[in-house]
């Protein structure tokens, strides 16, 4: 299987080096065109007026909040079941990015809610389940870093991530299963999008920008985690084993 090949961190880093500049370029390209359409070249809404433009940040952020959690839970499962070292690092690296997207979705939603609904926050099923998602990310990060041995931290956090995965379909379908103040889905729904093409174009462009940004930042973070692991291994060898190579020896007294 392909993912066994990239269980080797060095082989993974080679792939990451190839993808990273493309992801960075795509992020820039999609953000520039997306923001141009979202802020300048698209009309106001017949009900909401200019406030509709908040949607171009809110909706992609909310999509990514769910996407990142799904990716994190899947990576955590692969790490847990197949003991895949890079998958563990991918799950760890996804958590803070997903948490930021979730916060952004909650924050922009609140800004939109005040002028449109007449309230910053309500405890309806959609808003509450997204808030739980945010806390799941925070809990995952806290648990993953609560152990001296990172492998144990990843294992414990992976279990939390998998348990929390139940929340993802609840978020998606909350607006269909229960009466909520939050509106039902406009884009991914039976019978085609209920959103005019002049507004769908900036939305899709912004969604692509967010996705490319995620890939870009994820690769940087995984690289950082791999390097941190190497430093940890060197330190351990210094303490328990023979002297490390001169070049890798850290200065005395600094820990």
């Amino acid at each position: 299987m392909i993912f066994h090949k990239y269980a080797n961190p060095n082989r993974f880093l080679k792939l990451a080096t190839t993808i990273q500049p493309w992801a960075a370029g795509a992020t820039g390209l999609f953000f520039v065109t997306g923001l141009y359409f979202a802020l300048l070249a698209s009309p106001g809404d017949y009900q909401q007026g200019e406030t509709v433009r908040i949607m171009y940040v809110h909706v992609p952020a909310a999509w990514m909040a769910m996407f990142c959690y799904t990716a994190m839970a899947m990576a955590a499962a692969v790490g847990l079941i197949w003991k895949h070292p890079v998958a563990d690092l991918a799950a760890r690296s996804t958590a803070p990015i997903g948490a930021c997207f979730t916060f952004l979705a909650l924050f922009t939603g609140s800004l939109w809610g005040k002028p449109m609904w007449g309230t910053w926050w309500v405890w309806d099923a959609r808003l509450t389940s997204v808030l739980i998602l945010f806390f799941l990310y925070l809990g995952y990060m806290a648990l993953a870093n609560a152990f001296d041995d990172p492998a144990r931290g990843s294992k414990a956090a992976a279990i939390l991530a998998l348990v929390g995965a139940v929340n993802v379909p609840v978020i998606k379908f909350s607006v269909d299963w229960w009466n909520t103040l939050h509106q039902p889905a406009s884009v991914v729904k039976i019978g085609g999008p209920a959103i005019h093409s002049s507004m769908l174009v900036p939305l899709i462009l912004m969604a692509l920008a967010f996705k490319a940004y995620y890939i870009w930042v994820l690769l940087i973070r995984i690289r950082g985690e791999i390097n941190a692991g190497k430093i940890r291994a060197l330190r351990l060898r210094q303490v328990h084993g023979g002297p490390p190579p001169i070049a890798a020896r850290p200065s005395q007294g600094v820990n």
Binding site: P43, G44, D45, Y46, Q47, Q48, V52, M55, A77, L80, I81, W82, K83, P115, M116, W117, G118, T119, V122, W123, D124, A125, L162, V163, A165, V166, V170, W177, W178, N179, T180, L181, Q183, P184, A185, S186, K189, A194, I195, H196, S198, M199
Partner: protein
Amino acid sequence: MKRKHKRLTFVGIALLLLGTAAALILTAFEDNIVFFYSPTDLIDKNPGPDRRLRLGGLVEENSVDKQGGGQVVFRVTDTAKTVNVRFKGLLPDLFREGQGVVAEGRFIKGVFVADDVLAKHDENYMPPEVAEALKKSGQWQGTEKAKSQ
């Protein structure tokens, strides 16, 4: 069975049980998760005046009566049944006849006395010109698509 297959089976079964448990809990608490009652629910259940709850539906056309002093009376409908609502205070920008609304308050003697009114936005997004064109050509389907059953 290899150890990784054991782990895979274990995780799979655990997730399945967890999903079932979550589904059962959410079904059991359905009444508490629902954000608002439709007029039909409200009339059928007829809760006492001491229970605070939310009523959601569409503001009926030509039913809004602004009586001065911030007092406003309107009717909320789910196209099957209709409830009279009395409210004193500021209405949100999106409050319009034919639009969704959620009112919070008490159901007292057949009148819903609201102390808070929120506008509910639907899932349709379009520029004003498109909305106009749809209305003109008779393809408009804004008001009669009541979401709440």
